[in-house]
Symmetry: C2
Subunit: 314 residues, 2 copies
Protein backbone atom coordinates (compact mmCIF):
# COMPACT_ATOMS: atom_id res chain seq x y z
CA UNK A 1 0.00 0.00 0.00
CA UNK A 2 1.22 3.47 -0.84
CA UNK A 3 1.68 6.05 1.91
CA UNK A 4 0.23 8.85 -0.19
CA UNK A 5 -3.06 10.25 0.98
CA UNK A 6 -6.10 9.21 -1.09
CA UNK A 7 -8.29 11.97 -2.48
CA UNK A 8 -11.23 9.79 -3.53
CA UNK A 9 -12.54 6.23 -3.40
CA UNK A 10 -13.67 5.15 -6.87
CA UNK A 11 -16.14 2.25 -7.00
CA UNK A 12 -17.35 0.19 -9.96
CA UNK A 13 -20.34 -1.58 -8.45
CA UNK A 14 -21.92 -4.11 -10.81
CA UNK A 15 -24.47 -6.89 -10.50
CA UNK A 16 -22.02 -9.57 -9.37
CA UNK A 17 -18.75 -7.73 -8.73
CA UNK A 18 -17.50 -4.70 -6.85
CA UNK A 19 -14.15 -3.00 -7.31
CA UNK A 20 -12.81 -0.22 -5.12
CA UNK A 21 -9.77 1.94 -5.87
CA UNK A 22 -8.17 4.61 -3.72
CA UNK A 23 -6.90 7.36 -6.03
CA UNK A 24 -4.56 10.25 -5.27
CA UNK A 25 -5.14 13.83 -6.39
CA UNK A 26 -3.73 13.00 -9.83
CA UNK A 27 -5.97 9.95 -10.28
CA UNK A 28 -3.16 7.43 -9.67
CA UNK A 29 -4.03 4.14 -7.97
CA UNK A 30 -2.85 3.94 -4.33
CA UNK A 31 -4.62 0.72 -3.45
CA UNK A 32 -7.51 -1.48 -4.60
CA UNK A 33 -9.99 -4.22 -3.59
CA UNK A 34 -11.88 -6.60 -5.86
CA UNK A 35 -14.74 -8.69 -4.50
CA UNK A 36 -17.92 -10.56 -5.33
CA UNK A 37 -19.97 -8.12 -3.24
CA UNK A 38 -21.99 -6.99 -6.23
CA UNK A 39 -25.57 -5.79 -6.21
CA UNK A 40 -26.91 -9.22 -5.32
CA UNK A 41 -24.80 -9.51 -2.14
CA UNK A 42 -25.08 -5.86 -1.19
CA UNK A 43 -28.88 -5.94 -1.34
CA UNK A 44 -28.96 -8.46 1.48
CA UNK A 45 -26.09 -7.10 3.60
CA UNK A 46 -26.70 -3.40 2.98
CA UNK A 47 -24.80 -1.18 0.54
CA UNK A 48 -23.53 1.15 3.25
CA UNK A 49 -22.21 -1.74 5.38
CA UNK A 50 -20.48 -3.43 2.44
CA UNK A 51 -18.85 -0.19 1.30
CA UNK A 52 -17.64 0.67 4.82
CA UNK A 53 -16.08 -2.78 5.23
CA UNK A 54 -14.10 -2.46 2.02
CA UNK A 55 -12.97 1.08 2.82
CA UNK A 56 -11.96 -0.01 6.34
CA UNK A 57 -9.94 -2.89 4.89
CA UNK A 58 -8.16 -0.30 2.74
CA UNK A 59 -7.63 1.88 5.87
CA UNK A 60 -9.34 4.77 4.12
CA UNK A 61 -10.42 7.77 6.24
CA UNK A 62 -14.15 7.52 7.11
CA UNK A 63 -14.73 10.94 5.58
CA UNK A 64 -13.14 10.09 2.21
CA UNK A 65 -15.54 11.01 -0.61
CA UNK A 66 -16.77 8.09 -2.74
CA UNK A 67 -17.76 8.16 -6.41
CA UNK A 68 -19.69 5.13 -7.70
CA UNK A 69 -20.83 3.85 -11.09
CA UNK A 70 -22.79 0.77 -12.14
CA UNK A 71 -25.84 -1.13 -10.95
CA UNK A 72 -25.64 0.41 -7.46
CA UNK A 73 -27.61 3.23 -9.10
CA UNK A 74 -30.38 0.98 -10.42
CA UNK A 75 -33.87 0.46 -9.04
CA UNK A 76 -32.61 -2.67 -7.26
CA UNK A 77 -29.50 -0.81 -6.09
CA UNK A 78 -28.56 1.56 -3.28
CA UNK A 79 -30.32 4.60 -4.69
CA UNK A 80 -32.18 4.80 -7.98
CA UNK A 81 -30.39 7.42 -10.06
CA UNK A 82 -32.58 8.40 -13.03
CA UNK A 83 -31.15 7.55 -16.44
CA UNK A 84 -29.80 10.32 -18.63
CA UNK A 85 -31.50 10.08 -22.04
CA UNK A 86 -29.49 9.87 -25.24
CA UNK A 87 -28.44 11.81 -27.19
CA UNK A 88 -26.28 12.94 -24.26
CA UNK A 89 -22.91 14.76 -24.14
CA UNK A 90 -20.43 12.56 -22.26
CA UNK A 91 -19.37 15.38 -19.94
CA UNK A 92 -22.94 16.09 -18.92
CA UNK A 93 -23.53 12.49 -17.83
CA UNK A 94 -20.70 12.65 -15.31
CA UNK A 95 -21.96 15.94 -13.86
CA UNK A 96 -25.34 14.38 -13.06
CA UNK A 97 -24.04 12.21 -10.20
CA UNK A 98 -26.57 11.95 -7.36
CA UNK A 99 -25.62 12.15 -3.66
CA UNK A 100 -26.55 9.37 -1.23
CA UNK A 101 -28.01 11.19 1.81
CA UNK A 102 -27.32 10.50 5.47
CA UNK A 103 -23.85 8.98 5.09
CA UNK A 104 -20.71 10.09 6.94
CA UNK A 105 -18.98 11.11 3.74
CA UNK A 106 -19.85 12.57 0.35
CA UNK A 107 -21.04 9.58 -1.70
CA UNK A 108 -22.34 10.04 -5.22
CA UNK A 109 -23.58 7.68 -7.91
CA UNK A 110 -23.19 8.33 -11.62
CA UNK A 111 -26.38 7.86 -13.71
CA UNK A 112 -26.73 5.32 -16.49
CA UNK A 113 -28.09 5.99 -19.97
CA UNK A 114 -31.49 5.31 -21.53
CA UNK A 115 -32.38 5.17 -25.20
CA UNK A 116 -36.14 5.67 -25.26
CA UNK A 117 -36.70 4.96 -28.96
CA UNK A 118 -39.90 2.94 -29.20
CA UNK A 119 -38.30 0.67 -31.76
CA UNK A 120 -35.00 0.21 -29.98
CA UNK A 121 -35.25 0.69 -26.21
CA UNK A 122 -31.94 0.27 -24.38
CA UNK A 123 -30.40 0.97 -20.99
CA UNK A 124 -26.92 0.78 -19.50
CA UNK A 125 -25.23 1.55 -16.17
CA UNK A 126 -21.47 1.66 -15.68
CA UNK A 127 -20.41 1.68 -19.32
CA UNK A 128 -21.05 5.46 -19.52
CA UNK A 129 -18.18 5.90 -17.03
CA UNK A 130 -15.82 3.59 -18.95
CA UNK A 131 -16.72 5.55 -22.07
CA UNK A 132 -15.98 8.88 -20.36
CA UNK A 133 -12.58 7.52 -19.31
CA UNK A 134 -11.64 6.12 -22.72
CA UNK A 135 -10.22 9.43 -23.90
CA UNK A 136 -12.10 9.52 -27.22
CA UNK A 137 -11.26 12.43 -29.52
CA UNK A 138 -13.80 15.26 -29.16
CA UNK A 139 -14.42 15.29 -32.91
CA UNK A 140 -15.85 12.73 -35.31
CA UNK A 141 -17.93 9.57 -35.08
CA UNK A 142 -16.64 6.73 -32.90
CA UNK A 143 -17.95 3.21 -32.48
CA UNK A 144 -17.12 1.62 -29.16
CA UNK A 145 -17.37 -2.08 -28.29
CA UNK A 146 -17.42 -3.13 -24.61
CA UNK A 147 -17.50 -6.93 -24.32
CA UNK A 148 -19.03 -8.59 -21.29
CA UNK A 149 -22.00 -10.39 -19.79
CA UNK A 150 -24.06 -7.82 -21.66
CA UNK A 151 -21.80 -6.41 -24.35
CA UNK A 152 -22.51 -2.81 -25.22
CA UNK A 153 -21.81 -1.06 -28.52
CA UNK A 154 -21.97 2.71 -28.31
CA UNK A 155 -21.88 5.33 -31.05
CA UNK A 156 -20.40 8.70 -30.08
CA UNK A 157 -20.69 11.66 -32.45
CA UNK A 158 -18.88 14.94 -31.70
CA UNK A 159 -18.62 14.07 -28.00
CA UNK A 160 -22.30 13.08 -27.76
CA UNK A 161 -23.56 9.53 -27.12
CA UNK A 162 -26.05 9.17 -29.95
CA UNK A 163 -27.05 5.50 -29.92
CA UNK A 164 -26.23 2.21 -28.25
CA UNK A 165 -27.18 -1.45 -28.17
CA UNK A 166 -26.77 -4.56 -26.05
CA UNK A 167 -25.71 -8.08 -27.01
CA UNK A 168 -26.25 -10.63 -24.23
CA UNK A 169 -23.23 -12.60 -25.40
CA UNK A 170 -21.63 -13.43 -22.05
CA UNK A 171 -24.94 -14.34 -20.48
CA UNK A 172 -25.91 -16.52 -23.46
CA UNK A 173 -22.59 -18.36 -23.16
CA UNK A 174 -23.19 -19.07 -19.46
CA UNK A 175 -26.82 -20.10 -19.98
CA UNK A 176 -26.06 -22.40 -22.89
CA UNK A 177 -22.97 -23.89 -21.23
CA UNK A 178 -24.72 -24.62 -17.93
CA UNK A 179 -28.39 -25.17 -18.68
CA UNK A 180 -28.94 -26.16 -22.31
CA UNK A 181 -28.43 -29.46 -24.11
CA UNK A 182 -24.98 -28.11 -25.07
CA UNK A 183 -23.87 -28.64 -21.47
CA UNK A 184 -23.43 -32.33 -22.36
CA UNK A 185 -20.90 -31.27 -24.99
CA UNK A 186 -19.08 -28.61 -22.95
CA UNK A 187 -18.77 -30.61 -19.74
CA UNK A 188 -18.78 -29.44 -16.13
CA UNK A 189 -16.17 -26.72 -16.16
CA UNK A 190 -15.57 -25.17 -19.58
CA UNK A 191 -11.94 -24.08 -19.74
CA UNK A 192 -10.93 -20.57 -20.73
CA UNK A 193 -10.65 -20.21 -24.50
CA UNK A 194 -7.36 -18.93 -25.91
CA UNK A 195 -7.52 -16.30 -28.64
CA UNK A 196 -5.39 -18.39 -31.04
CA UNK A 197 -7.60 -21.47 -30.64
CA UNK A 198 -8.32 -22.88 -34.13
CA UNK A 199 -11.81 -24.06 -33.19
CA UNK A 200 -12.68 -20.60 -31.84
CA UNK A 201 -11.49 -19.05 -35.08
CA UNK A 202 -13.39 -21.53 -37.24
CA UNK A 203 -16.75 -21.01 -35.51
CA UNK A 204 -16.19 -17.28 -35.40
CA UNK A 205 -15.74 -17.34 -39.19
CA UNK A 206 -18.91 -19.42 -39.52
CA UNK A 207 -20.95 -16.85 -37.59
CA UNK A 208 -19.46 -13.96 -39.54
CA UNK A 209 -20.11 -15.70 -42.86
CA UNK A 210 -23.79 -16.08 -42.03
CA UNK A 211 -24.26 -12.45 -41.01
CA UNK A 212 -24.56 -13.23 -37.31
CA UNK A 213 -27.19 -15.95 -37.68
CA UNK A 214 -26.19 -18.04 -34.67
CA UNK A 215 -29.56 -19.74 -34.19
CA UNK A 216 -29.00 -22.11 -37.11
CA UNK A 217 -25.59 -23.24 -35.81
CA UNK A 218 -25.91 -23.69 -32.04
CA UNK A 219 -27.13 -27.27 -32.13
CA UNK A 220 -24.33 -28.21 -34.51
CA UNK A 221 -21.97 -27.97 -31.52
CA UNK A 222 -23.91 -30.79 -29.87
CA UNK A 223 -24.03 -32.79 -33.11
CA UNK A 224 -20.30 -32.28 -33.70
CA UNK A 225 -19.70 -33.81 -30.27
CA UNK A 226 -21.82 -36.85 -31.16
CA UNK A 227 -20.65 -37.33 -34.75
CA UNK A 228 -17.14 -35.91 -34.98
CA UNK A 229 -15.86 -36.35 -31.43
CA UNK A 230 -15.61 -32.62 -30.69
CA UNK A 231 -14.02 -32.48 -27.21
CA UNK A 232 -15.48 -30.46 -24.31
CA UNK A 233 -12.72 -27.84 -24.63
CA UNK A 234 -13.31 -27.57 -28.37
CA UNK A 235 -17.06 -27.30 -27.79
CA UNK A 236 -16.48 -24.37 -25.39
CA UNK A 237 -14.24 -22.72 -27.98
CA UNK A 238 -16.87 -23.32 -30.67
CA UNK A 239 -19.66 -21.77 -28.60
CA UNK A 240 -17.47 -18.79 -27.72
CA UNK A 241 -16.46 -18.27 -31.36
CA UNK A 242 -20.03 -18.59 -32.60
CA UNK A 243 -21.43 -16.12 -30.09
CA UNK A 244 -18.64 -13.53 -30.34
CA UNK A 245 -18.51 -13.78 -34.14
CA UNK A 246 -22.29 -13.49 -34.16
CA UNK A 247 -22.20 -10.38 -31.99
CA UNK A 248 -19.66 -8.69 -34.23
CA UNK A 249 -21.54 -9.58 -37.43
CA UNK A 250 -24.76 -8.30 -35.91
CA UNK A 251 -23.26 -5.06 -34.58
CA UNK A 252 -21.61 -4.49 -37.96
CA UNK A 253 -25.01 -4.80 -39.61
CA UNK A 254 -26.57 -2.38 -37.13
CA UNK A 255 -23.86 0.32 -36.98
CA UNK A 256 -22.20 -0.03 -40.38
CA UNK A 257 -18.67 1.01 -39.36
CA UNK A 258 -17.28 0.46 -42.85
CA UNK A 259 -13.52 0.92 -42.62
CA UNK A 260 -13.79 2.85 -39.38
CA UNK A 261 -11.69 1.74 -36.42
CA UNK A 262 -13.60 0.20 -33.51
CA UNK A 263 -12.63 1.32 -30.00
CA UNK A 264 -12.44 -1.95 -28.03
CA UNK A 265 -12.72 -1.24 -24.30
CA UNK A 266 -11.93 -4.51 -22.54
CA UNK A 267 -9.34 -6.38 -20.58
CA UNK A 268 -7.73 -9.78 -20.20
CA UNK A 269 -8.71 -12.96 -22.04
CA UNK A 270 -12.07 -11.66 -23.23
CA UNK A 271 -10.46 -8.63 -24.82
CA UNK A 272 -8.04 -10.92 -26.67
CA UNK A 273 -10.94 -13.03 -28.02
CA UNK A 274 -12.78 -9.95 -29.28
CA UNK A 275 -9.56 -8.67 -30.81
CA UNK A 276 -9.14 -11.92 -32.71
CA UNK A 277 -12.76 -11.89 -33.81
CA UNK A 278 -12.51 -8.30 -35.06
CA UNK A 279 -9.37 -9.23 -36.99
CA UNK A 280 -11.15 -12.21 -38.57
CA UNK A 281 -13.99 -9.86 -39.50
CA UNK A 282 -11.45 -7.56 -41.14
CA UNK A 283 -12.35 -4.71 -38.79
CA UNK A 284 -9.62 -2.39 -37.50
CA UNK A 285 -9.67 -1.65 -33.80
CA UNK A 286 -7.91 0.30 -31.09
CA UNK A 287 -7.72 -1.44 -27.68
CA UNK A 288 -8.40 0.51 -24.48
CA UNK A 289 -7.93 -1.10 -21.06
CA UNK A 290 -11.33 -1.34 -19.38
CA UNK A 291 -9.99 -1.02 -15.82
CA UNK A 292 -8.01 2.08 -16.64
CA UNK A 293 -10.98 3.55 -18.48
CA UNK A 294 -13.46 3.10 -15.64
CA UNK A 295 -10.98 4.52 -13.11
CA UNK A 296 -10.32 7.52 -15.33
CA UNK A 297 -14.06 8.02 -15.80
CA UNK A 298 -14.74 7.81 -12.06
CA UNK A 299 -11.92 10.25 -11.35
CA UNK A 300 -13.21 12.67 -13.98
CA UNK A 301 -16.70 12.43 -12.46
CA UNK A 302 -15.33 13.19 -9.00
CA UNK A 303 -13.61 16.29 -10.35
CA UNK A 304 -16.65 17.44 -12.33
CA UNK A 305 -18.78 17.12 -9.20
CA UNK A 306 -16.30 19.08 -7.08
CA UNK A 307 -15.62 16.10 -4.79
CA UNK A 308 -11.85 16.39 -4.85
CA UNK A 309 -10.62 18.99 -2.37
CA UNK A 310 -8.53 22.15 -2.64
CA UNK A 311 -10.27 23.60 -5.64
CA UNK A 312 -9.11 21.08 -8.21
CA UNK A 313 -12.65 20.61 -9.50
CA UNK A 314 -12.70 21.14 -13.25
CA UNK B 1 -61.85 -47.52 -24.64
CA UNK B 2 -62.70 -49.36 -27.84
CA UNK B 3 -63.39 -53.10 -27.73
CA UNK B 4 -61.50 -53.76 -30.96
CA UNK B 5 -58.32 -55.76 -30.63
CA UNK B 6 -55.08 -53.73 -30.92
CA UNK B 7 -52.56 -54.85 -33.52
CA UNK B 8 -49.63 -52.71 -32.30
CA UNK B 9 -48.59 -50.34 -29.54
CA UNK B 10 -47.05 -47.21 -31.07
CA UNK B 11 -44.77 -45.19 -28.80
CA UNK B 12 -43.27 -41.72 -29.29
CA UNK B 13 -40.64 -41.66 -26.54
CA UNK B 14 -38.89 -38.30 -26.22
CA UNK B 15 -36.59 -36.67 -23.69
CA UNK B 16 -39.33 -35.38 -21.40
CA UNK B 17 -42.53 -36.97 -22.69
CA UNK B 18 -43.86 -40.36 -23.65
CA UNK B 19 -47.00 -41.07 -25.65
CA UNK B 20 -48.47 -44.51 -26.24
CA UNK B 21 -51.22 -45.38 -28.71
CA UNK B 22 -52.96 -48.69 -29.27
CA UNK B 23 -53.69 -48.99 -33.00
CA UNK B 24 -55.94 -51.45 -34.82
CA UNK B 25 -54.99 -53.28 -38.02
CA UNK B 26 -55.94 -50.21 -40.08
CA UNK B 27 -53.86 -47.84 -37.93
CA UNK B 28 -56.87 -46.30 -36.18
CA UNK B 29 -56.46 -45.18 -32.55
CA UNK B 30 -58.15 -47.49 -30.02
CA UNK B 31 -56.72 -45.89 -26.90
CA UNK B 32 -53.86 -43.67 -25.76
CA UNK B 33 -51.74 -42.55 -22.79
CA UNK B 34 -49.67 -39.37 -22.45
CA UNK B 35 -47.18 -38.99 -19.64
CA UNK B 36 -44.03 -37.25 -18.46
CA UNK B 37 -42.16 -40.57 -18.37
CA UNK B 38 -39.65 -39.42 -20.97
CA UNK B 39 -36.05 -40.49 -21.26
CA UNK B 40 -35.07 -38.72 -18.05
CA UNK B 41 -37.60 -40.59 -15.93
CA UNK B 42 -37.24 -43.90 -17.77
CA UNK B 43 -33.48 -43.96 -17.26
CA UNK B 44 -33.96 -44.10 -13.50
CA UNK B 45 -37.00 -46.38 -13.37
CA UNK B 46 -36.11 -48.64 -16.30
CA UNK B 47 -37.49 -48.45 -19.83
CA UNK B 48 -39.00 -51.93 -19.72
CA UNK B 49 -40.77 -51.25 -16.41
CA UNK B 50 -42.17 -47.91 -17.56
CA UNK B 51 -43.41 -49.35 -20.85
CA UNK B 52 -45.07 -52.34 -19.15
CA UNK B 53 -46.87 -50.07 -16.68
CA UNK B 54 -48.35 -47.96 -19.44
CA UNK B 55 -49.36 -50.99 -21.51
CA UNK B 56 -50.93 -52.60 -18.43
CA UNK B 57 -52.90 -49.40 -17.75
CA UNK B 58 -54.20 -49.68 -21.32
CA UNK B 59 -55.03 -53.40 -20.71
CA UNK B 60 -52.90 -54.35 -23.70
CA UNK B 61 -51.95 -58.03 -24.14
CA UNK B 62 -48.41 -58.69 -22.80
CA UNK B 63 -47.41 -60.09 -26.19
CA UNK B 64 -48.56 -57.03 -28.18
CA UNK B 65 -45.73 -55.85 -30.46
CA UNK B 66 -44.40 -52.37 -29.76
CA UNK B 67 -42.89 -49.90 -32.23
CA UNK B 68 -40.98 -46.96 -30.77
CA UNK B 69 -39.45 -43.75 -32.10
CA UNK B 70 -37.55 -40.94 -30.41
CA UNK B 71 -34.83 -40.56 -27.82
CA UNK B 72 -35.42 -44.07 -26.45
CA UNK B 73 -33.07 -45.07 -29.29
CA UNK B 74 -30.28 -42.71 -28.23
CA UNK B 75 -27.05 -43.48 -26.38
CA UNK B 76 -28.75 -42.41 -23.14
CA UNK B 77 -31.87 -44.35 -24.07
CA UNK B 78 -33.07 -47.96 -23.88
CA UNK B 79 -30.95 -49.26 -26.71
CA UNK B 80 -28.62 -47.24 -28.91
CA UNK B 81 -29.92 -47.57 -32.44
CA UNK B 82 -27.29 -46.33 -34.91
CA UNK B 83 -28.26 -43.28 -36.93
CA UNK B 84 -29.12 -43.67 -40.60
CA UNK B 85 -26.96 -41.23 -42.58
CA UNK B 86 -28.50 -38.73 -44.97
CA UNK B 87 -29.13 -38.70 -47.86
CA UNK B 88 -31.62 -41.44 -46.90
CA UNK B 89 -34.85 -42.63 -48.56
CA UNK B 90 -37.70 -42.22 -46.06
CA UNK B 91 -38.94 -45.78 -46.54
CA UNK B 92 -35.50 -47.20 -45.79
CA UNK B 93 -35.28 -45.42 -42.44
CA UNK B 94 -38.42 -47.11 -41.20
CA UNK B 95 -37.20 -50.55 -42.28
CA UNK B 96 -34.07 -50.20 -40.15
CA UNK B 97 -35.90 -50.54 -36.81
CA UNK B 98 -33.81 -52.49 -34.26
CA UNK B 99 -35.28 -55.13 -31.94
CA UNK B 100 -34.88 -54.89 -28.15
CA UNK B 101 -33.75 -58.38 -27.07
CA UNK B 102 -35.00 -60.39 -24.10
CA UNK B 103 -38.46 -58.85 -23.84
CA UNK B 104 -41.77 -60.76 -23.75
CA UNK B 105 -42.95 -59.14 -26.96
CA UNK B 106 -41.53 -57.88 -30.25
CA UNK B 107 -40.23 -54.40 -29.43
CA UNK B 108 -38.42 -52.34 -32.06
CA UNK B 109 -36.95 -48.87 -32.11
CA UNK B 110 -36.75 -46.72 -35.25
CA UNK B 111 -33.35 -45.12 -35.93
CA UNK B 112 -32.75 -41.38 -36.06
CA UNK B 113 -30.87 -39.53 -38.78
CA UNK B 114 -27.34 -38.15 -38.90
CA UNK B 115 -25.92 -35.55 -41.26
CA UNK B 116 -22.17 -36.10 -41.10
CA UNK B 117 -21.12 -33.05 -43.13
CA UNK B 118 -18.05 -31.62 -41.42
CA UNK B 119 -19.41 -28.12 -41.88
CA UNK B 120 -22.95 -28.84 -40.81
CA UNK B 121 -23.22 -31.81 -38.44
CA UNK B 122 -26.78 -32.59 -37.35
CA UNK B 123 -28.76 -35.36 -35.66
CA UNK B 124 -32.41 -36.06 -35.00
CA UNK B 125 -34.51 -38.81 -33.44
CA UNK B 126 -38.29 -39.01 -33.70
CA UNK B 127 -38.81 -36.45 -36.45
CA UNK B 128 -37.92 -39.05 -39.12
CA UNK B 129 -41.08 -40.93 -38.08
CA UNK B 130 -43.28 -37.81 -38.20
CA UNK B 131 -41.82 -37.10 -41.60
CA UNK B 132 -42.60 -40.62 -42.83
CA UNK B 133 -46.19 -40.19 -41.65
CA UNK B 134 -46.71 -36.76 -43.22
CA UNK B 135 -47.75 -38.23 -46.56
CA UNK B 136 -45.41 -36.10 -48.68
CA UNK B 137 -45.73 -36.55 -52.45
CA UNK B 138 -43.11 -38.97 -53.80
CA UNK B 139 -41.94 -36.43 -56.35
CA UNK B 140 -40.33 -33.02 -56.06
CA UNK B 141 -38.50 -31.02 -53.40
CA UNK B 142 -40.25 -30.42 -50.09
CA UNK B 143 -39.24 -28.27 -47.14
CA UNK B 144 -40.64 -29.38 -43.83
CA UNK B 145 -40.76 -27.35 -40.60
CA UNK B 146 -41.29 -29.14 -37.27
CA UNK B 147 -41.50 -26.62 -34.42
CA UNK B 148 -40.53 -27.62 -30.91
CA UNK B 149 -37.92 -27.54 -28.16
CA UNK B 150 -35.45 -28.21 -30.95
CA UNK B 151 -37.21 -27.23 -34.16
CA UNK B 152 -36.17 -29.25 -37.18
CA UNK B 153 -36.26 -28.17 -40.81
CA UNK B 154 -35.91 -31.02 -43.27
CA UNK B 155 -35.44 -31.01 -47.03
CA UNK B 156 -36.84 -34.01 -48.91
CA UNK B 157 -36.03 -34.51 -52.59
CA UNK B 158 -37.73 -37.27 -54.61
CA UNK B 159 -38.56 -39.20 -51.44
CA UNK B 160 -35.04 -38.88 -50.04
CA UNK B 161 -34.09 -36.86 -46.93
CA UNK B 162 -31.25 -34.76 -48.30
CA UNK B 163 -30.51 -32.23 -45.60
CA UNK B 164 -31.75 -30.96 -42.26
CA UNK B 165 -31.04 -28.45 -39.51
CA UNK B 166 -31.94 -27.65 -35.93
CA UNK B 167 -33.06 -24.40 -34.31
CA UNK B 168 -33.09 -24.54 -30.49
CA UNK B 169 -36.02 -22.14 -30.40
CA UNK B 170 -38.14 -23.76 -27.69
CA UNK B 171 -35.14 -24.41 -25.46
CA UNK B 172 -33.89 -20.83 -25.90
CA UNK B 173 -37.32 -19.52 -24.91
CA UNK B 174 -37.30 -21.61 -21.72
CA UNK B 175 -33.71 -20.74 -20.83
CA UNK B 176 -34.17 -17.02 -21.39
CA UNK B 177 -37.55 -16.93 -19.65
CA UNK B 178 -36.36 -18.82 -16.57
CA UNK B 179 -32.66 -18.10 -16.16
CA UNK B 180 -31.64 -14.90 -17.95
CA UNK B 181 -32.09 -11.25 -17.00
CA UNK B 182 -35.26 -11.35 -19.13
CA UNK B 183 -36.91 -13.39 -16.38
CA UNK B 184 -37.44 -10.09 -14.51
CA UNK B 185 -39.49 -8.89 -17.48
CA UNK B 186 -41.43 -12.11 -18.16
CA UNK B 187 -42.34 -12.87 -14.56
CA UNK B 188 -42.77 -16.21 -12.82
CA UNK B 189 -45.16 -18.01 -15.14
CA UNK B 190 -45.16 -16.71 -18.70
CA UNK B 191 -48.66 -17.17 -20.10
CA UNK B 192 -49.31 -18.92 -23.39
CA UNK B 193 -49.01 -16.56 -26.32
CA UNK B 194 -51.98 -16.30 -28.70
CA UNK B 195 -51.26 -16.30 -32.42
CA UNK B 196 -53.15 -13.01 -32.97
CA UNK B 197 -51.21 -11.20 -30.22
CA UNK B 198 -50.08 -7.82 -31.61
CA UNK B 199 -46.83 -7.84 -29.60
CA UNK B 200 -45.97 -11.31 -30.93
CA UNK B 201 -46.56 -10.09 -34.48
CA UNK B 202 -44.53 -6.92 -33.99
CA UNK B 203 -41.43 -8.70 -32.63
CA UNK B 204 -41.78 -11.41 -35.23
CA UNK B 205 -41.67 -8.72 -37.93
CA UNK B 206 -38.63 -7.19 -36.25
CA UNK B 207 -36.75 -10.49 -36.37
CA UNK B 208 -37.75 -11.13 -39.99
CA UNK B 209 -36.73 -7.60 -41.01
CA UNK B 210 -33.24 -8.13 -39.61
CA UNK B 211 -32.72 -11.47 -41.35
CA UNK B 212 -33.00 -13.49 -38.15
CA UNK B 213 -30.52 -11.45 -36.13
CA UNK B 214 -32.07 -11.98 -32.71
CA UNK B 215 -28.91 -11.29 -30.68
CA UNK B 216 -29.19 -7.53 -31.19
CA UNK B 217 -32.79 -7.41 -29.99
CA UNK B 218 -33.05 -9.74 -26.97
CA UNK B 219 -32.04 -7.19 -24.36
CA UNK B 220 -34.53 -4.68 -25.80
CA UNK B 221 -37.26 -6.78 -24.21
CA UNK B 222 -35.78 -6.02 -20.79
CA UNK B 223 -35.30 -2.36 -21.67
CA UNK B 224 -38.86 -2.08 -23.00
CA UNK B 225 -40.05 -3.33 -19.60
CA UNK B 226 -38.00 -0.67 -17.80
CA UNK B 227 -38.66 2.25 -20.16
CA UNK B 228 -42.01 1.59 -21.84
CA UNK B 229 -43.83 -0.48 -19.22
CA UNK B 230 -43.96 -3.65 -21.35
CA UNK B 231 -46.03 -6.07 -19.22
CA UNK B 232 -44.89 -9.64 -18.37
CA UNK B 233 -47.42 -11.10 -20.83
CA UNK B 234 -46.26 -8.75 -23.56
CA UNK B 235 -42.64 -9.58 -22.77
CA UNK B 236 -43.38 -13.29 -23.22
CA UNK B 237 -45.12 -12.55 -26.52
CA UNK B 238 -42.17 -10.41 -27.61
CA UNK B 239 -39.62 -13.13 -26.81
CA UNK B 240 -41.73 -15.74 -28.58
CA UNK B 241 -42.18 -13.53 -31.66
CA UNK B 242 -38.50 -12.65 -31.78
CA UNK B 243 -37.32 -16.27 -31.52
CA UNK B 244 -39.88 -17.77 -33.91
CA UNK B 245 -39.48 -14.94 -36.43
CA UNK B 246 -35.73 -15.36 -36.09
CA UNK B 247 -35.94 -19.10 -36.75
CA UNK B 248 -38.01 -18.60 -39.87
CA UNK B 249 -35.75 -15.85 -41.23
CA UNK B 250 -32.73 -18.02 -40.56
CA UNK B 251 -34.20 -21.18 -42.10
CA UNK B 252 -35.30 -19.17 -45.14
CA UNK B 253 -31.72 -17.98 -45.57
CA UNK B 254 -30.39 -21.53 -45.28
CA UNK B 255 -32.92 -23.42 -47.45
CA UNK B 256 -34.09 -20.70 -49.85
CA UNK B 257 -37.64 -21.96 -50.36
CA UNK B 258 -38.54 -19.05 -52.65
CA UNK B 259 -42.26 -19.33 -53.34
CA UNK B 260 -42.36 -22.97 -52.37
CA UNK B 261 -44.94 -24.12 -49.83
CA UNK B 262 -43.56 -25.13 -46.42
CA UNK B 263 -44.97 -28.32 -44.88
CA UNK B 264 -45.65 -27.32 -41.26
CA UNK B 265 -45.88 -30.44 -39.06
CA UNK B 266 -47.10 -29.26 -35.67
CA UNK B 267 -50.07 -29.14 -33.37
CA UNK B 268 -51.91 -26.85 -30.98
CA UNK B 269 -50.86 -23.36 -29.93
CA UNK B 270 -47.28 -23.67 -31.17
CA UNK B 271 -48.47 -24.63 -34.65
CA UNK B 272 -50.72 -21.57 -34.70
CA UNK B 273 -47.79 -19.30 -33.75
CA UNK B 274 -45.61 -20.73 -36.52
CA UNK B 275 -48.49 -20.42 -38.97
CA UNK B 276 -48.83 -16.73 -38.10
CA UNK B 277 -45.07 -16.20 -38.36
CA UNK B 278 -44.93 -17.89 -41.77
CA UNK B 279 -47.80 -15.69 -42.95
CA UNK B 280 -45.99 -12.57 -41.73
CA UNK B 281 -42.92 -13.79 -43.61
CA UNK B 282 -45.05 -14.14 -46.74
CA UNK B 283 -44.34 -17.87 -46.92
CA UNK B 284 -47.07 -20.28 -48.03
CA UNK B 285 -47.52 -23.38 -45.92
CA UNK B 286 -49.54 -26.56 -45.63
CA UNK B 287 -50.33 -27.66 -42.05
CA UNK B 288 -50.01 -31.32 -41.05
CA UNK B 289 -51.06 -32.51 -37.58
CA UNK B 290 -47.96 -33.72 -35.72
CA UNK B 291 -49.76 -36.33 -33.63
CA UNK B 292 -51.42 -37.88 -36.66
CA UNK B 293 -48.13 -37.83 -38.54
CA UNK B 294 -46.12 -39.61 -35.86
CA UNK B 295 -48.84 -42.26 -35.43
CA UNK B 296 -49.01 -42.81 -39.18
CA UNK B 297 -45.21 -43.08 -39.30
CA UNK B 298 -45.08 -45.56 -36.42
CA UNK B 299 -47.81 -47.65 -38.02
CA UNK B 300 -46.02 -47.62 -41.38
CA UNK B 301 -42.81 -48.71 -39.62
CA UNK B 302 -44.61 -51.59 -37.90
CA UNK B 303 -45.92 -52.77 -41.27
CA UNK B 304 -42.57 -52.39 -43.02
CA UNK B 305 -40.93 -54.45 -40.30
CA UNK B 306 -43.57 -57.20 -40.53
CA UNK B 307 -44.74 -56.62 -36.95
CA UNK B 308 -48.44 -56.56 -37.77
CA UNK B 309 -49.85 -60.07 -38.09
CA UNK B 310 -51.57 -61.95 -40.90
CA UNK B 311 -49.23 -61.00 -43.67
CA UNK B 312 -50.18 -57.33 -43.90
CA UNK B 313 -46.52 -56.32 -43.96
CA UNK B 314 -45.88 -54.06 -46.92
Amino acid sequence: MSHDKPSIAAVDWGTTRMRVWLLDTAGRVLDERRSDDGLLTARSRGFSVVLEQHLAALRAPVTLPVIICGMAGSRQGWLEVPYVDVPAPIGGILKSATAVKGERSDIRIIPGLAQRLQSEPEVLRGEETQLAGADLPEKGRHIVCMPGTHSKWIVVEEGVVSRFGTWMTGELFSLLASHSILRHSLGEKPSTVAADNATFRHWCETALASGGDIASRLFSIRAAGLLHGLSPDEAAAALSGLLIGGEIASARRVYEPGRQEIVLISSGALGALYGTALEIAGMAFRPVDADEAVRAGLFAAARRNGMIGNGVAA
